[in-house]
């Protein structure tokens, strides 16, 4: 499979504090790349820089659009607009990411209006079809976000991201805020949409078990640096880096009789890249 996104030497500092430090990676089409790392390691900053929600200090982000390779950061807002259709994001917090003053219909219709897709009637049909796809009742359209549970709101967020039929979807801890059974439902949904529509996911997560199950490749970040990357099974079965080993040892085992290994955090030596 060919690559759909290539990030090279991406750097971003906040007040002279490097938060993303020369990160490079590539994502192949219709696969899922997991990004893991502890809180504050720069995952959100990294994915938001890719989308230009944050302006990075240096580095290039190249995207293989339907019309060929594009450098996302050298485009004018006008040139960027059609690419926004192809790259979408699902947010972490299902409560904060929906405008509380818009109905579900208005929320889902807005991307279509902005990109000038369809007329009023056909947009309505698309919204209804999308709601069905994310397993929400058709009557949801006339309601406001406050009338939904966390899991349902996350489905609305997914519907908003997918209604433009994107090719690359960035999920920034999109399931972390949900409880385990809802998490499983949403992950199933994402997986079935992937096989149906051939989506590519960039999947930021805390939970390593979720990553192992859901991702094809994984990228481990520590303090703004990528310390390890590769196919999930390889990294999980044979971690090369101390930090990865530490992360893996922190996964609680389902077997209650197994003893916890002491965390060798203090002795950990990380060479700064």
């Amino acid at each position: 499979m060919s690559e759909i996104l290539t990030v090279t030497d991406l750097c971003k500092s906040f007040s002279d504090q490097p938060v993303v430090n020369s990160v490079s990676f590539g994502v192949r089409e219709s696969t899922t790349l997991g990004i893991v790392g502890e809180s504050g390691s720069g995952k959100t900053t990294l994915v938001r820089s890719i989308l230009r929600a944050i302006d990075p200090d240096s580095g290039t982000v190249r995207y293989n659009s339907r019309k060929g390779w594009q450098d996302l950061h050298s485009l004018s807002p006008k040139e960027l607009l059609p690419l926004r259709r192809e790259i979408q994001m699902i947010f972490q917090d299902p409560f904060a990411s929906l405008n509380p003053r818009m109905t579900v219909q208005a929320i889902l219709e807005e991307p279509l209006i902005i990109h000038g897709i369809g007329d009023k009637e056909s947009r309505k049909q698309r919204v209804a079809a999308m709601l069905e796809k994310v397993q929400l009742e058709p009557s949801s359209a006339s309601r406001f976000p406050h009338a939904f549970s966390g899991g349902q709101r996350q489905r609305i967020g997914i519907a908003r991201a997918l209604i433009l039929e994107p090719r690359l979807v960035i999920c920034d801890e999109s399931v972390s805020a949900l409880d385990v059974s809802v998490q499983a439902q949403i992950l199933d949904l994402l997986a079935s949409l992937q096989s149906e529509l051939g989506l590519t996911y960039l999947f930021v997560a805390h939970d390593l078990r979720v990553v192992r199950e859901f991702c094809d490749e994984v990228l481990v970040m520590y303090a703004g640096n990528v310390v390890e990357q590769g196919p999930v099974e390889e990294v999980f079965n044979n971690p090369q880096h101390d930090y990865t080993r530490l992360l893996l040892s922190a996964i609680p085992s389902p077997d209650p009789d197994e003893k916890l290994e002491p965390l060798a955090r203090d002795g950990l030596q990380l060479e700064k890249v």
């Binding site: 929600a53 904060a96 929906l98 509380p100 003053r101 991307p111 309601r143 406001f144 009338a147």
Partner: protein, 368 residues
């Protein structure tokens, strides 16, 4: 229950507001006051400059249903006032003359007026028989025999509208400057920030005085009115601008705003469809709480004789007549405009509290 789920945040806020009893009462009081002010020509029995030589400094007349013999009359009436000079103090004193009663007529003909400067009319909501023999002053009269009730209503028009016009101007300046400062940041933000700091560090009363003193005395009443309004709002916008700026700065980073940008919305759409709507309830509340300050500002300036001047009638101008202690002792009804100011200010504050609680149910929790 299923209906509740379809309600918009606006409807929910209205439901919460309705539970706020005091705020509902305050809203009712304000509606009445503003209606009286809007239609003051019709609502008042006299025009503000009309003099009654037979009732100078007359006390408020009682509106009665029972006559001196204790008999009930369906149509309310007032008794004639008889002037006596107290032989000990030489003071003018009025006593009710129970042999002459003036029945109150509704929609009676009276002094002609120009309604909103549009057309001539002479109907008044209530008055006494228009043959010229009777009179009704249920708020008393001033030292020239002018009806206080009519003057309070005409004054309400000026004072209450200054509050709204002034706040409108304040809102415009505050939202515009604060909004751009918050959204654009950088140089413009710093400039606006410094300007508000300077304006906020100057004590307002001396500054108002200086500026009002600069208003040419030759200006017509209407120009002075706008001059005073502009002076009041020129210093009122800073607080709102700071709040708007803060909210914009914070909201720029909110997920749903970033989400809007990521689906391709441009700046105008982000500001007007996503940022401002979640801010309107706050703006309305702030505006409501700012109106009394404007009204008090006008009153204070006029009271000191540097705001509006007679023949314009405003509550501040009316209170100017009540500046000495003689008034308080002998004709205390001249202080009635003060009571109206107090009621208006309290009503606006209660209404603002109710609106704030309704718009943001968590705010009262947060403040504890």
């Amino acid at each position: 229950m299923s209906e509740l789920r379809e309600l918009s945040p606006g409807r929910l806020a209205w439901l919460r507001f309705r539970r706020h009893r005091l705020a509902m009462i305050a809203a009712g009081v304000l509606v009445v006051l503003y209606l009286l002010a809007m239609f003051c020509e019709f609502m008042s029995p006299y025009t503000p400059q009309q003099r009654n030589a037979r009732a100078i400094n007359a006390p408020p007349m009682d509106i009665r249903f029972f006559d001196a013999e204790g008999q009930f009359h369906l149509r309310p009436f007032v008794y004639d006032l008889e002037l006596t000079i107290n032989p000990d103090t030489w003071m003018r004193e009025y006593e009710e003359n129970t042999s002459i009663a003036y029945p109150i007529r509704f929609f009676a003909r009276g002094e002609p007026y120009e309604f909103w400067g549009l057309f001539e009319a002479d109907r008044h909501l209530f008055s006494v028989d228009p043959d010229g023999s009777g009179y009704i002053h249920w708020f008393g009269t001033d030292s020239l025999g002018r009806d206080m009730y009519s003057r309070v209503l005409y004054g309400a028009r000026v004072s209450l509208s200054i509050g709204v016009v002034g706040v409108g101007l304040t809102l415009f300046l505050g939202v515009l400057l604060g909004g751009f400062a918050g959204y654009l940041g950088g140089m413009f933000d710093s400039a606006v920030q410094r300007m508000t700091e300077v304006l906020q560090s100057i004590p307002t009363l001396p500054l108002w005085m200086a500026l009002s003193a600069a208003l040419p005395a030759a200006w017509s009443p209407i120009t002075t009115y706008f001059g005073v309004t502009i002076i009041l709002s020129l210093f009122g916008w800073t607080t709102l601008a700071r709040q708007v700026r803060g909210r914009f700065l914070a909201m720029r980073e909110e997920d749903f705003v970033i989400a809007a940008r990521l689906i391709g919305a441009n700046d105008t759409r982000v500001i007007f469809r996503h940022m401002l709507p979640s801010f309107t309830s706050h703006i309305i509340t702030t505006a409501t709480l700012a109106v009394p300050a404007m009204i008090l500002g006008e009153t204070a300036l006029s009271f000191l004789g540097i705001g509006l001047r007679a023949p314009v009638v405003s509550w501040g101008v009316l209170l100017q007549q009540a500046q000495n202690y003689q008034v308080i002792v002998m004709t205390p009804w001249l202080l009635l405009p003060g009571a109206f100011i107090v009621i208006t200010v309290i009503a606006f504050n209660l209404l603002g509290d109710g609106l704030r609680d309704a718009a943001d149910p968590y705010s009262s929790l947060r403040e504890q």
